[in-house]
Symmetry: C2
Subunit: 250 residues, 2 copies
């Protein structure tokens, strides 16, 4: 049985158009490679009630919830407080987090200010997630991983929790691209192949770049089924006079 | 009073890591320029229940809901059916949509297949959203705008609904960047400026590219307040020995 997951990205800057979120897409690929199914993503602003409502909706529904953003040293970093409030626990200064932050800055001859120590605050009962990039740790509490918004730190924190994620069967994916073929030309054939084969999911994605055309992806827990499905798709593409390009990809 | 909005991006490919969503970020900027506040974004897969649950949560909460994805001609395009089910209305073949699709393909000497006509199906009571790129229209029903997932078509459909969105007061934003300054050095000063000025929201965003540093954005409905806030931020940056770079941006 595959585990399920959701991500909650937090930050006004994501909703104002200032910043384009990168963590959702990275996490999606990372989880897929580990056989964990990302089922839902949400983005909310720096608002404690909005964060809490989204978190409470997601944490009961999925095996893992990842948050990104709002755990830095400034006044607009409210994720830890919002999560503690949503869980009904208090916020403490985590002794080991404080030690990690003191160690990180002292080693670099930088003063350990109260603002920096703010990053040692965690919901009571939390475990820490190592941050090799910039010292201040992330936090795990229950099934929630509270991580940084800066993509390089988010990714480093994912590495750090590798062992805490239960891997599942990886879905086998095969893709075939038909250059210059409008996807509507293939619609009937795809519906038929989808109906005839069990345990496969066919996705059809129009390409709208310099090259036009369509990519069809067959996904299955059974590698042989994914392969037969994509072979049937390729045959349908060839029958329409195009030469499909094959790829192994999600 | 600013109107509020949410986006619901739909597609397995967004959650598998195959495709990086681009519409959320584009819409965020587009709405901000029009004085509409994007409050929440969600991504769900091609699952009728998941689409319906998210849609029903969002449409009662915000003035406008935009969906992207799942309105093409293939079997995995289920957005129209899922939305009709969520609203408790039936799906019809919309006569004008069918005419638009027939016209688009006939003009190009392409056959109008049943798969292509599938794109004329709408929830009963819907209005159409013109699609100058590829013929098949989007759909508006109640406060929901049902749009394509392909970014170029999504953007063209936004142009087409320009007149249906009630503009609000545009938020004034001023940004100051301090190269090579860790944001924790500014945390106390930002908290103080935020506390002293009314009607302004200060955001602090660490930069993690080739250049390090921090960008602070002051947002306010009152241009003069945004300007005073950013001037105070710049003074604090200068007091730390850095020369800030100013920008007008969200």
């Amino acid at each position: 049985m595959q585990k399920t997951a959701a991500i909650l990205a937090i930050g006004d800057e994501l909703l104002s158009g200032r910043t384009r979120d990168a963590n959702m897409h990275y996490l999606a690929g990372w989880l897929t490679e580990r056989g964990v199914e990302l089922k839902e993503a949400r983005v909310v602003g720096d608002d404690s009630d909005d964060i809490g409502a989204a978190l409470n909706a997601l944490r009961g529904k999925y095996d893992y919830v990842f948050t990104s953003g709002g755990i830095g040293p400034t006044h607009d970093d409210i994720t830890v407080d919002a999560i503690a409030a949503a869980l009904g626990v208090s916020v403490i200064e985590h002794p080991r987090a404080a030690a990690m932050i003191r160690h990180y800055y002292s080693k670099r001859d930088i003063e350990v200010t109260p603002a920096r120590l703010r990053m040692a605050r965690t919901p009571e009962g939390a475990h820490l997630i190592e941050n090799p990039v910039s010292g201040a740790p992330g936090v795990r509490i229950e099934n929630i991983f509270v991580m940084a918004g800066v993509p390089r730190i988010f990714q480093a924190m994912l590495n750090a929790i590798e062992g805490e994620i239960e891997r599942g069967a990886v879905i086998h994916a095969r893709a075939a691209t038909a250059p210059n073929l409008p996807e509507s030309m293939l619609a009937d054939q795809l519906r038929e192949i989808q109906g005839a084969l069990k345990g496969v999911s066919l996705g059809s994605y129009p390409i709208d770049g310099d090259e036009k055309g369509v990519t069809v992806v067959a996904r299955s827990m059974d590698e042989a089924v994914a392969t037969s499905a994509i072979e049937a798709v390729c045959a349908a593409m060839r029958a329409l006079g195009v030469d499909p390009r094959l790829e192994d990809r999600r």
